[in-house]
């Protein structure tokens, strides 16, 4: 008999996410036969942004997420620059890449050591105290000496990710929630001292990535080979690409594109739509975000999530480090729970060395020219009457887009135009990965990845957590067991990247 349960809240995810899972015996093996991913928190950012001055957008919209604020600030700047026809000077582009890269590294390290690895390590005998206890402990978890090593790396990783943030704050002003990204570039400037401070921190971080992070991830992949066959998902990968290497944005460290299951193809943002059949929104379904709407409706029948269901040409795509590394040709070993972890660690390494080569002679730090401007204030055109902008970039957990419509006007007594936000739409990566079903009833990537996952002990569904955490969903996440014999159906809670 099928048993439905919810893991609620799914902890170790930033945000609020709930996963409802139905488990049944198939071929003598208890496994997940159905899954529903529910975003369980709503704030209404897209509404709050309306009527704001355009330059408020990077500051307000980065507050969508405290783990990837730099990506939101970047997407917002790119969207407005696209609307205004503005291009930042080279130093501005490079400084923004450096701050973004620093935040990628802190996010990837935080994800592996503090959010994901605990699903595989039994820390009970080492850390028998909150917040590490109580916890699930299953027989397949690592214990003894390997677990102790992991715990010591957990503590070391706290320091390293803090230093990654410190590195980003050198040019961001502060982290999380930076101050210096504005349409037109980066307000902070490159100085010899700051470049040296950045380099010193980066050297220490690179050493940790090379000697601890990548080897630990590889070790986990080798120790749990079954997880290279679990959590396969939809098998299609999509990346907007990130880290512009030229002013036009035509060359990127991680390229734009999509893998349709057979080959890597170009990406056309015009065929991205968001379905809302199963989301608590009354606005029309299937809209492209350039004309998107967000009307909340908590009473909507049949809905189960505060996230919409983004689709590419009607198809389900997975996003994240694995998608970026795959599209770029850096990692094509497979698509599974472990491959997601592995691609994430290798991506952190790739970004770290793009910022500064091992011998310090090439990389973004070297391309900065001290004393050159990093900011050019955009001139807002007054024609056409409405300006539309698309800002496509990547957050650590996947492709991120901001779509803006700006109404330019000239305030009384001024000769320069200002811009007011008329429409603002955001599609977060978790909105794709943890999306609910779409109008065609196709489950989202995480829902698909969960189906087929074996569960050894229903009271400790750690296998499910491993699959969920491999996506690094930016949601405070919960999973609940729904059992038919209980009086009341249980709900599940966890959210991430909710707007």
């Amino acid at each position: 008999m099928a048993t439905t349960f919810t893991i609620d809240p799914i902890t170790r995810i930033e945000g609020h996410l709930k996963i409802e899972v139905t488990v049944d015996t198939v071929d003598n093996q208890l496994q997940v036969v159905d899954a529903r991913s529910c975003g369980v928190m709503f704030r209404g950012f897209e509404k709050i942004l309306i009527n704001h001055d355009a330059f408020d957008a990077p500051i307000i919209s980065q507050r969508i997420c405290g783990v990837c604020p730099v990506s939101h600030a970047m997407a917002s700047c790119l969207s407005l620059e696209n609307a205004f026809g503005a291009t930042p000077p080279a130093n501005g582009r490079i400084l923004r890449n450096l701050v973004l890269g620093a935040n990628y590294i802190q996010s990837h390290i935080l994800h592996f050591y503090h959010l994901a690895a605990l699903d595989y390590i039994n820390t009970q005998s080492i850390l028998d105290m909150a917040p590490w206890a109580p916890r699930f402990t299953t027989p397949d978890m690592l214990s003894g000496a390997p677990a102790e090593t992991f715990v010591s790396h957990y503590v070391q990783a706290l320091t390293i990710r803090r230093k990654a943030h410190q590195m980003g704050a050198l040019f961001g002003g502060k982290l999380p929630h930076l101050a210096s990204f504005m349409p037109g570039g980066c307000l902070d400037v490159a100085s010899t001292e700051k470049i040296a401070a950045f380099r010193a921190l980066l050297d220490e971080i690179k050493q940790f990535i090379d000697t601890v992070f990548v080897p630990d991830t590889q070790a986990l992949k080798d120790l749990f080979p079954q997880y290279s066959q679990i959590g396969l998902g939809c098998g299609k990968l999509l990346a907007y690409g990130v880290f512009d290497l030229n002013e036009a944005g035509t060359s990127k460290l991680l390229a734009r594109g999509r893998y349709d299951g057979t080959s890597v193809e170009p990406l056309d943002p015009a065929v991205i739509t968001e379905d809302v059949k199963y989301s608590w929104f009354s606005s029309p379904s299937g809209l492209n975000p350039s004309v998107g709407e967000t009307e909340a409706d908590r009473y909507k029948e049949g809905a189960y999530s505060w996230t919409k269901a983004p689709r590419y040409n009607g198809q389900v795509y997975e996003l994240g480090p694995l998608a970026r590394m795959w599209v770029n040709g850096d990692y094509r070993n497979g698509i599974s729970a472990m491959d997601r972890l592995m691609a994430r660690a290798l991506e952190a390494q790739k970004i770290a060395y793009a910022m500064d080569s091992a011998d310090h002679t090439s990389g973004w730090l070297n391309e900065l020219s001290v004393g050159a401007p990093s900011y050019t204030k955009p001139v807002i055109p007054t024609a056409p009457a409405l300006l539309n902008g698309i800002g496509l970039t990547e957050a650590p957990r996947g492709a991120l887009g901001h779509w803006s419509t700006i109404n330019p006007y000239i305030p009384a007594g001024s000769s320069t135009a200002k811009g007011k936000i008329l429409r603002y739409q955001v599609i977060t990566p978790t909105s794709w990965n943890a999306s609910p079903r779409d109008d065609q009833n196709q489950p989202g990537p995480l829902e698909q990845a969960l189906i087929g996952t074996p569960v050894a002990d229903i009271s400790q569904p750690v296998e499910i957590l491993r699959v969920i955490h491999s996506f690094d969903p930016c949601l405070a996440c919960s999973v609940h067991l729904l059992r038919p014999d209980r009086k009341k159906p249980q709900t599940v809670v966890q959210t991430g990247c909710c707007l």
């Binding site: 809240p9 995810i13 609020h16 001055d53 909150a130 109580p134 010591s152 040019f171 401007p373």
Partner: protein, 349 residues
């Protein structure tokens, strides 16, 4: 792994932490009967304040806080347990797995109607809320609290275990010894409360007024809150020291009401720092100089950002940067009127 209190004091001394905090304060904080229980509730939050806390180092580091100072009962970003285990962690002292299994049975049977302080005859009552209240706990709230419709099963913010943020807050705040609202969303509503406030979001003090509870509350605002603001205040609370509050409910030494405590008064471009000449003025974004004409809110913002700075590199060290030093106007993120009263953030040509 677990350091003894004596070990900690040794390391703290060596690392220079004692030069920041008086030694007797640390000793008092450490000398309590251990395990000060902290319950951390995340409402409509971006998790930024949690992430910021991970950056704590000037006063003490996050691993030290977790290992030695507090018993963090429930915090969804860090906690090892998932689901009901995590919710239970918030409510009872370290249950074992058998107890948890028994509890889960009861929880699933009773669902949302289970009363935390009801003793069920013959059954393990894991959520021994009375015992928890006797022991006492500090409630830390991150994120705002939306207005739910009791008749609607769908919540704007569901925190798990069948509880909306609104319900969890009303239960846990009633019995908390003290509440710390962390970050501008929790203190004053912050961005979720901004016009048109799509979810009826409120900060803790407004919600307490609505509920009719009067509770000792400390506001530590900031978007996000600076980790050292939180750690310093928490240590004082644990040491039994009185935390004097300003007119906005914030620690008066870190924020305050006097004009000398404004960001402006401490800023590198304040005229007092340019004897004999006028401070440079930035004419347009990207320029070096005072940013007042470009929208800086430093004259209407009270905090020690210019001195403490952000993202410290080590014990006793100030941070590496802050908004104005990064040529970015202060956006007034620690004030009750953030963001609506502070926008447009950028002004001028």
């Amino acid at each position: 792994m677990r350091l003894s209190r004596r070990d900690f004091l040794k390391i703290a001394g060596a690392a220079g932490i004692t030069s920041v905090l008086p030694l007797d304060l640390i000793q008092k904080a450490m000398a309590g009967n251990g395990d000060p229980r902290v319950i951390w509730l995340q409402g409509q939050s971006c998790s930024g304040c949690s992430v910021s806390l991970l950056n704590s180092v000037k006063t003490t580091t996050i691993d030290d806080i977790l290992l030695n100072k507090i018993n963090l009962g429930y915090h969804s970003t860090l906690i090892a347990a998932a689901g009901d285990l995590a919710i239970k962690g918030a409510l009872g002292p370290h249950p074992n797995l058998t107890e948890l299994a028994a509890f889960e049975n009861q929880w699933l049977m009773e669902g949302p109607d289970l009363k935390f302080d009801l003793d069920k005859d013959g059954r393990v009552n894991l959520i021994d809320f009375n015992a928890l209240c006797k022991q006492g706990y500090i409630l830390v709230v991150e994120g705002s609290i939306p207005a739910e419709d009791a008749a609607c099963p769908v919540k704007f913010c569901d925190i798990g275990g069948h509880l909306s943020m609104e319900e969890a807050f009303s239960i846990l705040s009633q019995k908390a010894d003290r509440i710390i609202a962390l970050g501008t969303c929790a203190c004053y509503g912050g961005i979720p409360q901004a016009v048109p406030n799509p979810t009826g979001a409120k900060g803790v003090s407004d919600k307490l007024i609505e509920l009719g509870y009067s509770k000792p509350l400390i506001n530590i605002p900031g978007c996000p809150a600076h980790p050292d603001w939180f750690v310093l205040t928490l240590l004082k609370v644990l040491a039994g020291q009185t935390v004097t509050l300003d007119s906005k409910g914030r620690p008066a030494d870190l924020f305050g009401d006097s004009s000398s405590q404004r960001v402006h008064a401490k800023c590198l471009f304040h005229p007092s720092r340019w004897p004999g000449s006028a401070p440079p003025q930035a004419a347009t974004l990207g320029d070096y100089g005072c940013l007042e004409s470009l929208g800086c809110k430093g004259k209407n913002t009270w905090s020690n950002c210019p001195v403490l700075k952000w993202n410290s590199g080590g014990p006793g060290q100030n941070g590496v940067n802050w908004c104005v030093e990064a040529r970015s106007p202060c956006c007034g993120c620690v004030e009750p009127d953030f963001p609506d009263g502070k926008t447009p953030f950028i002004t001028g040509s």
